[in-house]
């Protein structure tokens, strides 16, 4: 039952709330206004934004000069493919954690033993790198040496009990990009700064810097923990009995996932996709560092307007509006479903 309240109080609240709402929204509104002004009027906007004429020309010019459509195409490819790839990896994983959880770690080794094994393998890996070459220039040697470390570490992660595995996955989302930038940059680099020598295959022509081959998996990995996490919480709400019924009815794992679980969890999967869409659409760190042309998304496209000689404000505004409009609308519609993903479920 709502509490009664006086009309006067409502009026005051309404006034305060609208003022704050408009203030917060104002930069976006202002950009939208500038987008519809001519370039010279845009500079004098504060003085006379109502009196100057409106125009649509900026949008055409932005497309013509900077090929906006190419960037939104790139963004869409990266966002959509990475979301699909993410779902493909995450649905089985979340199914496993929600419906076949492991109450105990499957390995008998203690935490200290694992720590010792992993540290030892790291040292062996480093010694190997050190004695074969100062940097992992030979790809095969480099990869084998890295595997010495990665295999035990993955085994450790794989044999955790479900809750710990889930938390480990979440913690990978918390790794700062600055910590991963250097190796990723070098591995992705155009001229193959590490892993460049593949012996008989000349891979220096096939680099993944500034390509979808690099950006799509990267974006998938960036958001995979959140996708798995969100799907896990949605799957937990589905009664196990229905999946058991499917099992009794003779469904294989594939049919159980594709025909029963996925359709039932569709609303949850949709919210997960929306959050993923927003996060990867707006991703800037890796986009700015790893793309500049072929696979460059909208966030890169906008950053190109930051150079001083490129101060065309009306066009900057038009480009900005075109870059944010789709995701803003999606955000408006899905805001209530996003909370779960945005807090890792730590707020109910």
């Amino acid at each position: 039952m709502a509490r009664k309240q006086s009309t006067r109080r409502t009026i005051v609240l309404t006034a305060v709330a609208w003022t704050i709402g408009i203030l917060l929204f104002f930069p976006i509104f202002w950009t939208a206004v500038a987008a519809f002004k001519t370039e010279s009027d845009a500079y004098t906007l504060p003085q006379n934004f109502l009196t100057t004429p409106w125009t649509l020309e900026n949008f055409g010019i932005v497309q013509e000069r900077s090929d906006y459509l190419r960037y939104i195409f790139n963004t869409s490819v990266i966002v959509i493919l990475s979301t699909l790839l993410g779902l493909l990896l995450a649905i089985p994983a979340a199914w496993s954690m929600a419906f076949a959880p492991q109450a105990e770690a499957t390995s008998k080794l203690s935490g200290w033993t694992w720590l010792a094994i992993i540290l030892a393998s790291l040292v062996i890996c480093f010694l190997g790198l050190y004695f074969t070459d100062w940097k992992p220039a030979n790809a095969f040697v480099g990869i084998v040496l890295l595997l010495i470390f990665v295999v035990p570490a993955s085994l450790w992660a794989w044999t955790r009990r479900t809750h710990d595995g889930l938390l480990w996955m979440l913690s990978t989302k918390m790794m700062p990009p600055a910590g991963a930038l250097i190796p990723i940059y070098l591995i992705f680099n155009r001229n193959g700064l590490v892993f460049k020598d593949w012996g008989w295959i000349n891979l220096s022509d096939y680099n993944i810097m500034d390509s979808f081959w690099g950006m799509v998996p990267l974006m998938t990995l960036l958001n995979l923990p959140i996708i798995i996490w969100m799907l896990f919480t949605y799957f937990k709400e589905i009664p196990v009995g229905i999946l058991e019924a499917a099992r009794m009815d003779g469904a294989s794992l594939w049919n159980e996932l594709a025909r029963v679980l996925t359709p039932m969890a569709l609303p949850g999967i949709a919210s997960t996709c929306l959050l993923n869409l927003i996060l990867s659409w707006n991703e800037a760190f890796w986009s700015l560092n790893l793309t500049n042309k072929y696979a460059a998304p909208l966030s890169f496209f906008i950053s190109e307007y930051s150079s001083p000689e490129g101060q065309f404000w009306a066009k900057l505004s038009a480009a900005s509006i075109m870059a944010i409009a789709p995701i803003l609308v999606i955000g408006w519609f899905s805001q209530k479903q996003l909370v779960r993903g945005l807090t890792f479920g730590a707020v109910k």
Binding site: M97, L146, I182, N282, G345
Partner: protein, 288 residues
């Protein structure tokens, strides 16, 4: 409980994700640690060698390190204070009945959906530009001849302002959700008891919000430690750069892989301190 067969299948179904995430988190980390002990500059890529701790030594001695470390902490701290305090107030406001609540809510959360590069450029050029910006216009309206050059004079404040603008809606949205889960009955009971608003807030609302506020602080910290686009795009890296930016510029401008890697490790350590707390909180919720 599932059968052994189902659990075996479950382990298999989990494997691709685990492998992907393990590769993603362990390979870069291992290489970063490795590079941090290497003499390795991209200008002279063949001249490499064991560097011992000298990368760390020079990274810590770099005057930018201390400055950027302080900037990092200032940015994280100021944005968190602003957004949490502002977020609580906004959430309290949005929880009240008034006309057009849905629309105001949409207006308020919008900044969160704006990509960082866009918000940086919009704030820098359209709002805070010393000549053509909206704030300069307003200042002139009040008779100022020399409007403030925000990014030139107060670069740290300006970056913090943009970032706060982006994250305030986040805090407000989460806290509002938490507030709405506060029992209607509890609210009614407090109203019946005639609890004065301040003591009601202090004794009922604030304790209820303690946990979501902690979560907001932790999650924001993790993201705010990594602020990059706002600094790069507004070109204030020299004055208001943070650790992330410093690592980027070591790699990009100084092309010093070893130093950059050492910096990256410092960032990893910082982030881990926070994520340890966050993971523990999430874990508690998972068991409940």
């Amino acid at each position: 409980m599932a059968t052994r067969q189902a659990q075996a299948l479950g382990r298999l179904a989990l494997a691709p994700s685990v492998i992907a995430l393990a590769a993603w988190s362990f390979v870069p980390l291992a290489l970063t640690i490795y590079f941090a002990f290497l003499r390795y500059n991209l200008q002279d890529p063949d001249n490499t060698g064991w560097a011992g701790f000298s990368n760390f030594y020079y990274f810590f001695k770099d005057p930018y390190f201390l400055k950027d470390l302080i900037n990092t902490l200032l940015l994280v701290g100021s944005v968190i204070v602003t957004t949490v305090v502002g977020g609580v107030l906004l959430a309290l406001l949005l929880d009240q009945p008034f006309w057009g609540r849905g629309i105001v809510r949409l207006l308020m959360i919008s900044p969160f959906f704006i990509m960082p590069t866009v918000s940086s450029l919009v704030w820098k050029n359209l709002i805070m530009h010393p000549v053509f910006g909206l704030l300069a216009g307003i200042q002139r309206l009040f008779g100022a001849h020399q409007p403030i050059d925000w990014f030139g004079t107060y670069p740290r404040f300006s970056v913090a302002l943009i970032v706060s603008w982006q994250w305030l809606p986040y805090a407000a949205l989460i806290l509002l959700t938490a507030l709405q889960s506060l029992d209607e009955e509890q609210k009614d009971a407090a109203a019946m008891d005639g609890a004065p608003p301040l003591s009601y807030f202090y004794h009922i609302v604030l304790p209820h919000l303690a946990r979501p506020i902690t979560v907001v602080i932790l999650i924001e910290t993790i993201f705010l430690l990594n602020i990059f686009a706002e600094i790069k795009v507004t070109s204030v890296g020299g004055f208001a750069g943070n650790l992330t930016y410093l690592v980027f510029s070591q790699l990009n401008d100084a092309t010093d892989v070893g130093m950059a890697a050492a910096g990256g490790l410092v960032a990893v350590v910082l982030a881990n301190i926070v994520s340890a707390f966050l993971v523990r909180m999430v874990g508690k919720n998972l068991e409940a």
